[in-house]
Symmetry: C2
Subunit: 189 residues, 2 copies
Amino acid sequence: MFDSIVTHIKKHVSLTREETELLLASLELRELKKKEHLLEAGQICNENYFVADGCLRMYLTTDKGTEQVIQFAVENWWMTDYFSFKSNQPSNFYIQAIEKTNVIAISRKAQDELFEKLPQLEKYFRIVLEKAYAAQLNRIHYIFNLGGEEQYRMMVERYPEFVQRVPQYMLASFLGITPEFLSKVRAKK
Amino acid sequence: MFDSIVTHIKKHVSLTREETELLLASLELRELKKKEHLLEAGQICNENYFVADGCLRMYLTTDKGTEQVIQFAVENWWMTDYFSFKSNQPSNFYIQAIEKTNVIAISRKAQDELFEKLPQLEKYFRIVLEKAYAAQLNRIHYIFNLGGEEQYRMMVERYPEFVQRVPQYMLASFLGITPEFLSKVRAKK
DNA sequence: CAAAAAACTTAATCATGGTTAAGAAATGAA
DNA sequence: TTCATTTCTTAACCATGATTAAGTTTTTTG
């Protein structure tokens, strides 16, 4: 079950047999049922999560009491609230499994200790974060330049399996549109 | 002039005298006039830029021929197109000085070499990227939950000097609204 | 398998903010 | 210091997508 994370890390940096053992000792497998939460608003986010299998969403509740999906994480993606994780302040976010999901959790403490013992991990996370950051900038570009309809059609085009995988109302929220409008878009054509 | 970058790095990791020398040898100071470009769409982005003094914007031109501002960088921020920088593919973005600006440039090659010699830099960039990534997620949250008017008022509230510093039409673009609408918002109250 | 809960659809009305076009003000260069 | 360019403003009209309120379908659970 830890294979997925070791494979992913080894795509970016090298690890000896002993180093891998050291890494594995710091990881914890967590099996989540559909709708189970890893983090709720108000809690301090003490862990970083790697999705081995399944899908997570990060969301928050707005002033009007509605949910706003900020992002999803599927297999081989990391998810945490870096703000809370680093500052030890309560999070504004929820992190929830949207289907049966296996995550690999690493605590802030364990991660910091690992960075001392395995400096390659700094490189690994730097690379992962560069990609995640670039992806968010790209997303901002799409949010501003594509209408809700175009964004949905692009999702369907680029990630057809993913569109099937998440409830429509969550996808609508992620795209910044209402479920009613998404439904209308799907109806025509 | 390199003081600012050394100070910033030392806030996060330690550097000996020799290590600092090594670092400085890889950096290049670039003095930019207002409106001068560091990167234009179609070029490969080979450098990472640290703003020592002044202000940069990253933007792109949309299909309709309009400019869309993706982000700004002021003193002590890094800016690059990580996608192009890492993949060696042509960029979609422009990076431009919006006032007289001094940047410290580091080439991809020099950065990679420095990472070998100074592994602490991996940590430094990991930390910088964690913050930048978290900031983008927060921004997405605001984009979806605040109207254009509220976003502008929040900017004025939180970063009054910055609002004065950039032309209104760029700020409008950054917030995803038209300059006409921003003008209207400013007019009332 | 039946009842309840969750997710999705449809349609009428409404509001935020875009578009267009013109003019005014500020900035910059000769 | 004047002309040209850039930036900002105003206002009328318009469109995208939100809101509200049912009703329908699908999924979950006892």
